[in-house]
Subunit: 463 residues, 2 copies
Amino acid sequence: MNIETNPVETVIAALREFLGERLSTNASIREQHAKGEDANPPVLPDAVAFVEKTEEVSRVLRLCNTHGVPVVPFGAGTSLEGHVVPVRKGISLDLSRMNAILEVNAEDMDCLVEPGVSRHQLNDYLRDQGLFFPVDPGAHCSLGGMVATRASGTNAVRYGTMKEATLGLEVVLADGRVIQTGGRTRKAANGYDLTRLFVGSEGTLGVVTKIRLRLHGIPEATSAAVCQFDSLAAAVETTIMVMQAGIPVARIELADADQMRASIAYSKLDFQPQPTLFLEFHGSPAGVKEQAEAVEAIAADMGGKGFAWAHDAEARNKLWKARHDAWWAANALYPGCRGITTDVCVPISKLAEAIVGAKEDAVAMGQNTCIVGHVGDGNFHCVILFPEGDPKGLERAWELDRKIVARGLALGGTCSGEHGVGLGKREFLAQEHGQDVLDVMLSLKATLDPKGILNPGKMFPGN
Amino acid sequence: MNIETNPVETVIAALREFLGERLSTNASIREQHAKGEDANPPVLPDAVAFVEKTEEVSRVLRLCNTHGVPVVPFGAGTSLEGHVVPVRKGISLDLSRMNAILEVNAEDMDCLVEPGVSRHQLNDYLRDQGLFFPVDPGAHCSLGGMVATRASGTNAVRYGTMKEATLGLEVVLADGRVIQTGGRTRKAANGYDLTRLFVGSEGTLGVVTKIRLRLHGIPEATSAAVCQFDSLAAAVETTIMVMQAGIPVARIELADADQMRASIAYSKLDFQPQPTLFLEFHGSPAGVKEQAEAVEAIAADMGGKGFAWAHDAEARNKLWKARHDAWWAANALYPGCRGITTDVCVPISKLAEAIVGAKEDAVAMGQNTCIVGHVGDGNFHCVILFPEGDPKGLERAWELDRKIVARGLALGGTCSGEHGVGLGKREFLAQEHGQDVLDVMLSLKATLDPKGILNPGKMFPGN
């Protein structure tokens, strides 16, 4: 047997030479790297490479590029769109051990971290310095994964997404070259914005090995509140009015009655199973009070029932923990069921139509759903529940997903506000962007990854 | 004579067919398109094409691409870095007649404009709806030019730059294809961020024909103030402390004593020729008061002499008009002299060192300079004055420019915060980014503009 006819074996042998035990073909390790938190069928990688530094990433990519072997970056494995599934097999590149916080420049409010650092880890580290990193998806995700998917979450309405938060990157290209993009300044007009090209590229253009992030001062005052409504429309309309009034809420999150039912059960919340807004205000004590009063007045006009305040940190943490556990709560609502989730984002003026329409579609199909939303950004997730392991149930769930996305696109929205395209949203991309845009994206992909080794099968239809 | 041996003549003849009088080879028209506001030697284009719609831009590019004729987009001609100089001649593509405001969606706070719309025109149009567009360079520039250079200006410290302000674009590619990037949502994770790739690409990757911009509500309360200091260092240190305290100033602008001397003369200002901060606060009446008091306390600690308040719109407008005229004021300070300008941006903690060092270098060289700065972003301009038409004077000015940039880069900064690379900053790019990064940028350029017809000779050294 000519070993060159089996490029994967060649690569594995070469990787083992410099990674030793950190190159694993163990079955259970491969199983752990076969899927994320989504419902896509798992695929085992041929091997898992646990890298610890940039030079190793560079060597792995150079080798895989030479031999045409796929590389799928893996962080915390919390993707909801199949990003980490090695659909063409090859090497799962586990970056979780690259989890050092390399620099914190408190006076410039920036930091430099490795991609395996989690947002929890970073915020625990920063707290003593009066700083925080605001981008806050629900999951226990890695910052590398958040860069890859252009993640956002509850605080984005005030502080922006990973697009705004990322000042610069170290990226290993497909051929092993290591480049530094961006820099430490708040702004620059110094050539093409490579940082933004890699943010949201889902591991298809390069592997991120260092991330420079913009930080924020912990606000002097923080206050959270919960307001419940009789109808989904009233909760959404309240959000629209708050945003249009320009009130700088730090968080404004929606849960529909079904999601509340799930979260009350899962997180032991003391609320009614009704459409609910979760709010947070940041600023000076006077500023927070002013914002809260303005929102309370709007909510009252829309029939919102009282504000339940969570002034102290413990009560707030319980509230946001419940919000962050919404995905798991929804998945636990019906025994034997699990969910897929939509990620539609629309212009704020279309939000009521998009959300109420999604719920109506679900009801018409007799499909159980829970809706949560980063509604200040026009983004919501409809978790569609189906009997686990039932292919017909999954197909029906996808059918509802397609309806909800189609309405979102018709309203000037996007199929993905924050989860990324991955496997799950590929089919919508041509419809959303048009073929010429896809062609441009594919030409960039071909330029930076001519052999197509980087996370193949993702993002593009038919890729 | 074989007409195919003269591609420019071929293109001009073909353009005239569908543009008629709007294709001009008139000498004075060509002279008007030979330079911006910078000191680079003018170069006459072979012809100027005044386009009025996207389809015309597409036809121009398709023709020029077929025949390998350079195309240099031209908006308001206010570039400070030679962007509009047709150094390889060819067609100057004048987009100033594409100046329609196509949509304003007040409820979503976005708008769609053509590239020839100026920021003044847009803000005049928006005022009645309680909205404004914050990005605010001094010049009477076009929004297309602002996209091209990733412009920012005085409000960027609070509202961000064109990077944050641009939601989406219509772009004509070198081969005439028309693509739509981005969208109307506040966020998206739906493929590569093509919008950010074109923002700041300086006309080298495509020609922008429509721009979707994010708008903001006119703040309930606005207040401006001026504070003067005995030393440049004290003014800069005050800025640093304001930023580190997280006070959300809308504007914090520096003028050094020489710039104040120039502006007092040019704009009839009633201040002393001393280092000065110009400030503006946006928010609720209480919020503005709170911010202003906090800044006033910091300034007083640093020896700042009293706050001169400009509460009413007329006084504020006079102040900001003077700030916007700083470039012209500096150029008028010494009869027979004109200026070139640096555009260094550094991390805020390094700002005092960068600015004070720049002034010391200037003094040591006996070079007249005026310094202004968007100091909240760590960005400052040192206007270096030299006798107009004196090549040795210009060479000495460039020498000082190089010193100031070198210090900025050594402090972790960039050669350009907002003016772009153009002709003037090309030489710094390899030093700032490294050759691998330049190679990646050049590979993207080659992918989207394989024949190199789009604004050739700009951005890249030796390009």
